[in-house]
Amino acid sequence: MTANALSTKVAVKKIRSGEDLYQASQWTLMFWKLRRHKMAITGGIVLVVFYLSAIFAPIIAPYNGDRRSEFLFLPPQTIHWIDKGTFHPYIYGIDKSRNTETLALEFKENKDEITLLRLFVHDDKYKLWGFIPMDLHLFGAEGGKQIFLFGTDNLGRDLFSRTVLAAMVSLSIGLLGVAVSFILGVIIGGISGYFGGQVDTIIQQVILFLISMPQIPIWMGLSAAIPGNWPPVKTYFALTVVLSVIGWTGLARVVRGRILQVREETFVTAARLSGASNASIIRKHLIPATASYLIVNITLAVPGMILGETTLSFLGLGLAEPAISWGVLLQNAQNVRTIVLSPWLMIPGLFVILTTLAFSFLGDGLRDAADPYA
């Protein structure tokens, strides 16, 4: 138990005393406890913001992912907020020149040229969620100029737009992969825990073996079998399956352990004695009793999936252009020379780390809250 959990216990008792505490349902108690876990709440807020941004990604991204500009490998631009004493966000213009010795493109801020920034501008056309035609963007530059918050890549594409758009794939593949693992895990773990005996021994041995395998090489081997000429959507789903093939083991172990514990409880014996069928005992008693533990473990399993997709795409075995994910974006940052000259290409990695951290903190808080009577 962590420090937060301990202090939470005291706090909950102090504030919610007597009737209040006794009448609260288990879920309410869990919520009270989670609320006091500051890191978990922070993680939760970060995730809500990230997932909302992913849902409305085309609006938040100022440009479409494939729009190219004349500025290749442009460093991130700084926004200046105050113009002659009034609040007026703007950026300086860019002067492009070629270094005569190294032949590399060099950029300089042109302080005479000022481009104002505006909220809610009309620019690139896109279809929100694939069917609502729109051209509204959260922010943008005036007068046909572009703003590059995170700089540009080798083709002059806006890295900020691409990072936001990539969140759609990277964040959803984690959830989808966990959903598939979850179904497999609950079924196999449930069978293992409920029936016990030989079945249990064999399933546990299989799980132990799968856990002891080196995950990434196996993922690499499996995803290499996805044909390269498949469309991105099909590859996306195939990749989900690949990630889940090993991912279900952790969830199955949790379900089994919990069920082994619960099935000895008196209320399960009572149900069985009153003639309830196996299916209805599992549905009515075992699943509700395991639910909170499952939520915790699902939360902790998502980052593994996101890291898996990122790693595979980075290596060129997962998604590839024209699909955009954080892993695909990081492919650009593969060799030393590029990242030394343009370190901003590693920014998508920062979002991978932030997402994983947020999930870990939230999961950790949930784990403490999952057992509100502890």
Binding site: M220, P303, L315, I353, T356, L357, S360
Partner: protein, 327 residues
């Protein structure tokens, strides 16, 4: 103990067999057989296709026969050191993997050692100084360590080394040492290049180990015998080292089970980013070229490594804890 040992060996052999089956499945997964892929590649690059040689290969690997027979043909070559043919490189798989496997094992095992050397003292400190600033700090760093994907950590180290020290840390040897014969100078050169990959790989397992160490030590420290020892006036260090630490080593030994696979995984990725002469880069190249015998064999050897790691962990556990031996 002997019976326990025997049972574990038996299990390990079964698992090695399963690993080879999985590797075989991976070899077979890509659509079409690899010989067709190979022929297409040859044709695409405008080279002559030697029909006699193709027929020969087809017969040798039994591509016209059912799967179980193909599997048997592949596996029965192992004792002779025959793991199939790497079409891309036009050489037997055996010739390609030997040295790389050695480096992979060396880096993985060293990383495991480094990981525990970092984790045990920190876990000890965190448990004895629970809720102190240091404890929170290590906990936080541990979280970040878990959140950074291995390849990104490797990338960032490469970036930092190049940017601030002006060295390109890739590879295991300096360029002029590569072709030198083995000797003292080459060994020293290797020692200079090893720490970076070993630490980058080792860090991936450290955070998890710290948590296990801290949790199990905390459990022990709360037990009455510790209070008794303290009441009798034993000094804190003696109490800690004499009993709780020894109990806490058991769960630690069992962590090898999942930390070693994580390290082998991490080593594969780090190898690619740091351009090491290990299995990782070769596996990636083989997979991208659909050179499946080579890829499958490499994956099989990586799995062998972790199965052996699991075996060692279980023996270690039985040696540490007699209760397991007599179960």
């Amino acid at each position: 103990m002997a019976q326990y040992f025997l049972r574990r060996i038996l299990l390990a052999v079964v698992l090695l067999f399963v690993a080879s089956v999985i590797a075989f499945i991976i070899i077979q997964l890509p659509p079409g057989d690899y010989l067709t892929t190979y022929i297409n590649q040859l044709k695409a690059s405008g080279q002559d296709v030697d029909q006699a040689r193709i027929d020969n290969l087809r017969r040798q690997y039994g591509l016209d026969q059912p799967m179980p027979v193909q599997y048997w043909l592949w596996v029965s070559g192992f004792p002779r050191g025959d793991f199939g043919f790497a079409f891309q490189q036009n050489r037997p798989v055996k010739d390609l993997i030997g040295e790389r496997l050695g480096y992979s094992i060396m880096i993985s095992v060293l990383a495991l050692v480094v990981s525990y050397t970092i984790a045990i003292p920190i876990g000890l400190y965190s448990a004895t100084h629970q809720y102190s600033i240091g404890d929170y700090l290590f906990n936080f760093i541990g979280f970040i360590g878990l959140a950074i994907p291995g390849f990104l950590l490797a990338l960032v180290t490469v970036f930092a080394a190049y940017k601030y020290f002006g060295v390109n840390p890739g590879g295991l040897y300096s360029r002029d040492m590569l072709t030198q014969p083995w000797g003292w100078a080459k060994f020293l050169d290797l020692c200079k290049h090893l720490p970076l990959p070993v630490i980058v790989v080792g860090l991936s397992g450290t955070a998890g180990t710290i948590r296990v160490m801290r949790a199990s030590l905390l459990d022990e420290l709360r037990k009455p015998y510790v209070i008794t020892a303290r009441a009798k006036g034993l000094n804190e260090l003696r109490i800690l080292l004499k009993y709780p630490l020894r109990f806490a080593l058991n769960p630690l030994a069992s962590t090898i089970l999942y930390i070693f696979p994580a390290i082998v995984s991490g080593e594969t990725i780090t190898g690619v980013v740091l351009n090491l002469p290990t299995i990782g880069p070769m596996l990636l190249k083989a997979l991208l070229a659909q050179d499946m015998y080579l890829a499958g064999t490499l994956i099989m050897f990586l799995t062998f490594m972790t199965v052996i790691g699991m075996f060692v962990s279980e023996i270690l556990l039985a040696w540490l804890d007699p209760r397991i031996r007599y179960e």
